[in-house]
Symmetry: C2
Subunit: 112 residues, 2 copies
């Protein structure tokens, strides 16, 4: 594997840093599949309006989330395909049965 350039490492670290805060991670996870309103996020995750907005600002600035206005509301959704893939990958690992299973060559839907 080719070594990464210093700037690439810094970018990756920045994304990880933002995802490394539990509330921020919960926000991003909530915005992974569908877009969510600020108020929606605050209520669902039990965060103050101000705190929610502050975190969203960081995630938006880092191009992890995108913001779209719908009337008075502003909806956020994951906008970075890398981040989406990384998170899906991580979630897939977590929801898989335990044990050191190196086989990740198949994509299947879980049982109903």
């Amino acid at each position: 594997m080719r070594p990464l350039l210093p700037e690439q490492v810094a970018d990756v670290a920045e994304v990880f840093r933002l995802l490394g805060e539990p509330n921020r991670l919960r926000i991003v996870l909530a915005c992974l599949e569908t877009e969510r309103t600020v108020g929606e996020l605050g209520e669902t995750l039990a965060l103050s309006q101000s705190l929610t907005s502050h975190h969203l600002r960081l995630l938006r600035t880092a191009r992890i989330l995108r913001a779209v206005r719908h009337g008075r509301h502003v909806a956020y959704a994951v906008d970075d395909d890398h981040v989406r893939d990384v998170l899906r990958n991580m979630v897939a690992h977590l929801t898989e049965p335990h044990g050191h299973d190196h086989d990740h060559t198949h994509r299947e839907e879980p049982e109903p």
Copy 2:
């Protein structure tokens, strides 16, 4: 995709937090394919012996790296398959010739 348990979210956030520090990320990346001794890491990454060891301690405690003694040296390598996969995934994305254009200026239709 079913929602994660709070403890799972906390665990993921903790891993991201540790990978979110540039020097720590560089250490993990250096230990991704093959194991590296402490001195090796410090010299390669231009980190003091103490700082290298401090970071390694955090990564070892979080089960991201494993430590093996070889005589006087202690070698570290990535021990967590999830982390390895996430990092390989991230690196793969970065090294791909993606022409991802972040056009953030599209408008939205008003509500009825």
